[in-house]
Amino acid sequence: MAADRVIDMAAVKNFIAGELLYGDDQGLDYETNLIDSGVIDSMSLLRLISFLEEHFQIQVPDEAVIPDNFRSLSAIESFLTQTGVS
């Protein structure tokens, strides 16, 4: 991961690897499509959102829960940036 990332994406990656992939982060990189690969389904998405809300102290409005914001780690990063997380 690039050293100049300001958002704590390592924590997001760890959460996805640990909680959603049960420790198996093989092949999980910034562009992995989390929807097509089945990592994100209706239940895991709710868990991911709760994690983001708690870890970054933000509110994720229902309207923001769209594939463009959650398709990959880099999409999540852009979304967090837009939300004002730094």
Binding site: G18, Y22, G23, D24, I35, D36, G38, I40, D41, S42, M43, S44, L45, D62, E63, V65, I66, P67
Partner: protein, 530 residues
Amino acid sequence: MAFLLNQLLTESAQRLPDQAAVVSPEATLTYAELDSLSNQLANRLIEDGVRAGDRVGIFLPKSAHSVAAIFGIQKAGAAYVPIDPNSPSQRAAYILKNCDIRGLVTNSEKVNALPEDLFHSGTVRSVLLTDNLNLEGVSQRAKNARVSSWSDVRAKCPITNPCIPVIENDLAYILYTSGSTGEPKGVAISHLNSLTFVNWCFDEFGVKASDKVSSHAPLHFDLSIFDIFCTIKAGATVYLVPNEILAFPVLLARWIAEQGITIWYSVPSALIQLVERGKLEANNYERLRTVLFAGEVFPIKYLRQVVQAIPHPGYFNLYGPTETNVCTFYQVQAADLAPGRTEPVPIGKACANTAVVAIDDQGNPVGAGGEGELYVRSSTVMKGYWGRPDATAKVVLPNFLNDRFSDVIYKTGDIVRPLPDGNYQYVGRRDKMIKSRGYRIELGEIEAALYSHPEVKEAAAVALADERIGARIVAYIVSSNGLHTRELENHCKERLPRYMMPEKFEFRPQLPKTSTGKIDKVSLEKEEVK
């Protein structure tokens, strides 16, 4: 008159060739297109050696292709076996071997995830790939099978229906459900079993060619039988919910409105997500006329919210295990949703051409006010669990209420209470089966996966009630030294589908025991609730 499911397509294609049959993000197929494509697939399967009575697997994300595969397989005289596309490869391979598949419709990514030995015995003769990627690589793996691409089938196979002689008692499909001994059980359903249900729902809900029916459930889940076959019988259009938006309630709500869906069918948990996070008020659902739900108990407070948000459609609770398909149904009434009421809506009365009865522990029918296990008599009752006469004989019984002629009755394992108005109220399960998001889960299958790890000495899977999804699962383990949560999670992940994975793995030096020396799961449950 159609006596096979695939004849429903043939008939509708003759009546309405240009009508859209399936709409999905990849493709829209008209009735004529779906009919001729499925004929081509059938002809290729037959060329490759698939025969009447064989089984052909479908291991694919749901798409217009998989719908064509369903009909193609049936037109070849075979039964289709849909596998959860997110299933771990070991479980998928177990199912495909268990029912001894002769053919497989898949794509190059999915087939490459399957263990190679699946193809070693030479019984798999035909592999059809919906993509054209890596045909050679797949041919290398599936050495004894002929591997064809979709485009090759479309270019070369005759578009005429092979008209294989099959009777209504032959198998139409096998749906695998969680098995208490650790291995999934294949519920074998004949054309007659399925058509009895399809004909009932077609009449009861007045499905018409102008209807737009959603397909939300995956194909390995029996809610899909209504979506696909009832729609095709009516000459209506089935709209496959795009995989991309399944998890995104705001988009799903908008999709229902924009597509003009008229009949929706899903598990309650999908509707709960829509009402909680879907911003339902942002759209107009004027075309939606019927909302069907099944698979689990719908907590009344959420059902009330859904009906308040979209008041005009008729809401129906459909009940029935995979082994019988739907056997009772109930239309939600305003009084059921009165403020302060907490009891879920009843499961209702028997469908046409189906009889149900509650039986007490002494084997006698129970009247209003009593409680008993629900038994079902109907042509919908399955042919049996595939290759498991022992398991079948425990639930498909000679009809003990009438021994003057040969008849069977199905023992559901569900406890119900007959109400004074003739409806039945669901009370609970007789055994350890639980439901999470409508999926049947045998805690025994989870425990078997835990015990299959050599370091696990004792294991218990416990279900905790959860209003939104039905149940959450916690695993308790006693292990020899050094076993880590991660390792055990990975071990289970290779064996269990996602919806069966415990949410928490807790290692203990010992587990509480009952006086008979069994693991005391009741006390584990109580600990968690605290």
